[in-house]
Symmetry: C2
Subunit: 389 residues, 2 copies
């Protein structure tokens, strides 16, 4: 990454992405010159209101939606909480969801559905978990630790079938399907109609946009209970003077990500595969997690059983290679990743895991450097502990 | 305002402030170069985490608090909702609070206390409204429409007295005092210890910082129930990857506002008084609202009974003078301001109200231009309708 005083090789794009300079440039005028409150009555403010609406339109277009179906939020965590807290009754998610989903759902009656060893949930298990009073199912499009892509369309069909059955039997309990698509945005085709979801979360910070800017798409007709009340700026569901600069930046980032998607997916999956082949060749005992086919193009989750991942991160950092241990959130709290436990990794394997996520500045050279650095570091640790892989 | 292609005379600083160029400059590196997730384990991310913590420390210092007492939010509306929804039982506020406060409090048992004709609440009426199950009192430091400053210290004493009485009688119901100080920040001395409040809301967007960046200060020992859950980044009370650039900008804005406060209050109150004297001399029938002494230095709320304020705003805009009708939120929804009804303005007076709020780019010249423009516009409207003031 050439923006640093010292070159670093960044492999943690799932944790944070740099703001694209075009995005930063698009945002700037809305900080200093076009600072007006979009609710104000005079022409310069009305112009800002129009440009804000247009930015929402641009974001909506990238997912096949309309601007008046978007609730802009302060990021994926708020969108997720808004979706989940917007409903009552029993709620369902999977064992491998992000902490924000699991914690929000844990506040009420809930079921956490198991996943298989590759992190995929079986839609039939979602169907079995649905009770007469279930109001919400929440499954992420792609997992934040291992990159496994879920069968979202099939889950949507399950939810839709139950909804029809309820209508026939006169059960008026709502049932909606929320999908957190923040980790897959820019790498997968996200079209709300084709996915068949009712609520969808996106996050600007994952696609080279600003932090703390997100959206909850709400299918027309779906009633979400407001959490933050006040001026009612976002469809009456979310209040607060609009983050004009942030949403303008999000729109620019969404455009760029959508335009680059097809070529970037090919490029990144090739680079990722090169890395995995190299590590596999050197360490036959290494464990690669996530689905081999249904997986984000930029994810490489690898475990070196018996090696201490925290030491590995430290050794790699000394070689200017920045990687994550598990997810950033889990790493921070010092507990073992629930995702890795859910897919059946034993403690020794889980504790030897690093996550490399590739991005726009990842090149063939940086992959070779990372590969060499990891091989050296793992060998060094194996030599120290007398381990073999 | 020199930043526009055409010079405009902006008098709506209470609705929005331009981001100070120094603030925008401070934010920029944290968008593009220092983009790391503060929870990540490697050195460049740890550096960002430290700088984020330091920004919170700078903000805390300006209100006599500590960094680990601040919950960063997406603006005043979220802070207010977090404070109010963080408690149960009966809640109290005044008739003149911002929509976010009144709507959040309206969700449960509540009392709206009346104010006097100048918009001030009598702390004794707060005392009378407190019930055995009251858990929260929320009063803004300064009103967002008429600028009246509330007797916050006296209200804090009332709340504190009840708390002591409860302790003696074994009533364990919590009772806290939340103060939304977003409108007064930069113009009043805001020190949480001297004010005696338990929860305090501030907003970067009111002090030449970025939009959608706010804080809820929480007195140590006060338990606020979390609303948005997940990674637990903000004291476990609020989750989401930190808005690093926004909080860095907030800190810079808070420093500048604090340094400028004393001189700016003198300068703005002189300019505001000049404007009011001029309007009063020309229209003896004009009504000035807000407290003559306990009022923000930059607020001028004036009513021309019988004149249509919306037409006035339009006529002034044609002369490049930008003012508000009532509050931006109220104006947007097209309903009469609840604040003006609460202070006893009749419909004709309320509907002829404009709010001018001064700020850093307001000069003696711009005050003269605004004064002349208002006099001309009001005379034009009076001539059209045959009115006299």
């Amino acid at each position: 990454m050439s923006t640093m005083a010292q070159t670093v090789y960044y492999f943690d794009y799932a944790a944070a992405t740099p703001v694209d300079p075009r995005v930063a440039a698009a945002m700037k005028p809305y900080l200093v010159e076009k600072f007006y409150n979009p609710s104000s009555p005079y022409a310069p403010a009305i112009e800002v209101r129009r440009e804000y609406a247009n930015a929402k339109h641009m974001i909506a277009q990238t997912i096949g939606a309309r601007a008046d179906e978007l609730v802009m939020t302060a990021g994926a965590t708020e969108s997720i909480n808004l979706a989940i807290n917007g409903f009552g009754g029993h709620k369902i998610t999977t064992e491998v969801e992000h902490a924000s989903v699991k914690r929000a759902i844990s506040r009420g009656m809930h079921t956490f559905v198991e996943v298989d060893a590759r992190g995929r949930v079986d839609p039939r298990m979602i169907a079995e978990a649905i009770q007469h009073d279930t109001q919400l199912v929440s499954v992420a499009l792609a997992n934040h630790e291992i990159g496994t892509i879920q069968p979202v369309r099939d889950i949507a069909r399950v939810v839709s079938d139950v909804r029809f059955a309820r209508q026939r039997t006169g059960n008026h309990t709502p049932l909606v399907f929320h999908c957190d698509a923040s980790q897959g945005f820019g790498l997968l085709d996200i079209h709300v109609g084709r996915l068949g979801v009712d609520l969808l979360t996106l996050n600007a910070a994952k696609i080279y946009g600003p932090k703390q800017v997100g959206v909850l798409w709400v299918r027309p007709g779906v009633q979400v209970q407001a959490q933050v009340v006040g001026g009612g700026q976002e469809l009456g569901i979310r209040s607060g003077t609009e983050n004009v600069a942030g949403v303008i930046g999000f729109a620019e980032a969404a455009q760029i990500a959508t335009n680059k998607r097809t070529t970037e997916v090919v490029r990144l999956s090739r680079l990722r595969d090169l890395l995995e082949v190299s590590l596999r060749d050197n360490f036959p005992g290494a464990v690669f997690s996530g689905h081999s086919k249904h997986r984000l193009a930029n994810f490489c989750h690898v475990s070196f059983p018996g090696v201490d991942a925290e030491r590995l991160v430290f050794l790699l950092e000394a070689k200017q290679v920045l990687v994550a241990t598990g997810s950033a959130c889990a790493a921070n709290s010092g507990t073992r990743s629930e995702v890795l436990t859910a897919i059946g990794l034993d403690a020794q394997t889980a504790d030897g895991s690093i996550r490399l996520t590739l991005g726009r500045e990842t090149t063939h050279d940086s992959i070779e450097i990372a590969s060499r650095a990891i091989i050296e570091a793992v060998r060094q640790e194996l030599a120290r502990t007398g381990g073999v892989l």
